[in-house]
């Protein structure tokens, strides 16, 4: 038993320490949804096929139908004439309806949903103990407990836990039911800032380690940008676009809550507490996170979140500026910004999209045009 635990621990640790894109190939699944629903003012019209791998954020304003869609996928609500298939398996089609308990989904609800009459350990094992005999067990309890750091909580009653701890247990419990798909309904919404930071890294860890695709409902772009690989944008009961997160961030609908871009950069060293990063052929330097172990440095992929208003453009490279991160980019388009005096300039950096918020006056003064090569000065970056 001890050796099993140690084995599990080592196994688990290897996975955790692997950087994002080097993890075991994630499963790609396809979710097909046909759903048409009208309830008074509210209507939902969906006919989409969504590829799911890694973390997919279902993003939109409150009341746009995100939770309704998630509950229909889970089978918690049954809508007439809906059609829901995961890969080739129909979950709902015509008269056929696979009940919730036979769908291999894990669900985490918005508020704490631990069963109050069970201890943390019993909660964790509730789904695990009910697995069908033929289900392949890929995640063992020891593994999940270690992954989510739940050991000190096991014997407690749910009533004595903080919001963040409860959500972590709910997450572990869902994982142990060996789901094909994890559905997260605003799992962070009821948490304060402190508790959020207790659970965000675990969500990333799960995505990296387990390869189980996740569908995350959120109305906070901040959370989405920290976590998601893909984004499904919903508005007024429809899916208006979906695709990889960096490309989706260029959607003008998202500019209202602060236009931003996401770059994936590969790190290859750390000098004087400055992280050396490369995006394609170009180099960046950023202050390394405080806890970085410079002695045992290992390369990994970072997400760089850059606000559109933190990018300035110039026609020639600037040598007399304090901004040290300067990247050569080309202009691919212009988008309207929320403010009438401003424009969002769409850029590409070795195939990765980037956008800068400039005044219309500046765009005219510099004579910016599509396909033009310019230099982007990046004033601030959030390292995720």
């Amino acid at each position: 038993m001890i050796s099993l635990l140690q084995h599990a621990a080592q196994h688990c640790w290897q996975h955790i320490s692997q950087p994002r894109q080097l993890a075991a190939a994630p499963e790609c699944q396809t979710l097909t949804v046909q759903l048409s629903l009208a309830l008074g003012e509210f209507s939902l019209q969906l006919n989409n096929s969504l590829p799911l791998n890694g973390i997919t954020a279902l993003f939109g304003r409150s009341g746009c139908g995100k939770t309704t869609l998630l509950r229909a996928i889970a089978g918690l609500d049954r809508h007439a004439n809906a059609q829901i298939c995961l890969n080739e398996t129909p979950w709902q089609q015509g008269k056929q309806f696979v009940p919730v308990h036979q769908r291999r989904i894990g669900m985490v609800f918005q508020e704490s949903s631990l069963l109050p009459h069970l201890s943390v350990e019993q909660n964790l094992l509730y789904g695990f103990n009910r697995l069908a005999k033929q289900t392949a067990v890929r995640l063992q309890p020891e593994q999940v407990i270690r992954l989510l750091e739940l050991t000190p909580l096991l014997k407690l009653a749910p009533q004595y836990l903080s919001g963040g701890q409860r959500q972590r247990i709910a997450l572990g419990r869902a994982l142990l039911s060996q789901p094909q798909l994890l559905l997260l309904d605003e799992p962070l919404a009821s948490l304060d800032q402190q508790s959020r930071s207790e659970i965000l890294p675990f969500l990333q860890r799960i995505a990296n380690t387990t390869g189980i695709p996740m569908l995350l409902v959120s109305h906070q772009l901040d959370d989405v940008v920290k976590l998601a690989d893909h984004l499904v944008l919903m508005q007024d009961g429809r899916i208006i676009s979906h695709g990889p997160l960096p490309q989706q961030l260029m959607q003008p609908q998202l500019a209202a809550s602060g236009a931003m871009s996401l770059l994936h950069a590969r790190s290859h060293g750390c000098n004087h507490h400055l992280l050396q990063l490369s995006v394609g052929q170009q180099q960046l330097q950023l202050p390394a996170p405080m806890h970085t172990d410079t002695a045992n440095y290992s390369p990994s992929v970072y997400r760089l979140r850059i606000q559109a208003r933190d990018i300035a453009l110039s026609l020639t490279p600037l040598n007399d500026s304090s901004v040290s991160n300067q990247l050569q980019v080309s202009i691919i388009g212009f988008n309207t910004a929320p403010h009438p005096a401003e424009t969002l300039v769409q850029l590409t950096l070795d195939g990765q999209p980037l956008q800068a918020l400039l005044t219309k006056q500046s765009v005219e003064r510099l004579g910016l045009q599509i396909d033009q090569q310019v230099y982007a000065q990046i004033k601030a970056v959030a390292l995720e």
Binding site: A74, G75, L76, P99, V100, H101, Q102, I105, G106, M107, F109, S113, L115, P116, H117, Y126, G127, R130, L131, A132, Q159, R173, A174, S177
Partner: protein, 233 residues
Amino acid sequence: MPEFLTILSSQDWQAIQLTLKLCLYTTLILLLLGTPLAWWLSLSHSKLRTAIQAIVALPLVLPPTVLGFYLLLLLGPHGAIGSTLEQLGLNHLAFSFSGILIGSVIYSLPFTVQPLVESFRRMGPRPLEVAATLGASKLDQLFSVILPLCRGGFIVAATLTFAHTLGEFGVILMLGGSIPGETQVLSVLIYDHTEAMNYAQAHQLSLGLLITAFAVLFIVYGLNRRFEREAIL
């Protein structure tokens, strides 16, 4: 045996036995019938619910004699149910134990259903949704979630039903009369003793019932307090 018990006649003992049997059967039947009914009432949004709610609550306001009267008409030899039974070669149900059992099931229905509806509502749908997403079937949910979470509601429902049946009088007198060993329960026997001026015997049984009823209600309210505390935690 203490003196108090030795002076109970065999007729008294028979009535005590019969009363306990009636209370027990009524409680078991009502838990079986009342649970699905209460479940439906706690979830349904249909217009029918209001009507069913009113019907379930009727015994709370209706004089037991009215209920007993209609049951007598229905279950007696000329009633729809009674005459059908006779045609099938069975006996009609007036003045029989089965008859008063049906009467007390209807009469105590609100005392089972209302605490259950209350506790199902307090639990809400979420724990069951959680259990379902974790692979629990409906039956599994009943035993692993509903029963433990609504334990308080079930205990309160069962004790109230039991205690209420203990105090039943009007319906039984109308429908069952006073046949020793068949329909002569404690409350009816006390009435008979009083009519016959046997005040001492009436007093013993009355005092016994009084103490039992108090004890049962004391336990119910005690449990209620405990479950409320648990619910707050």
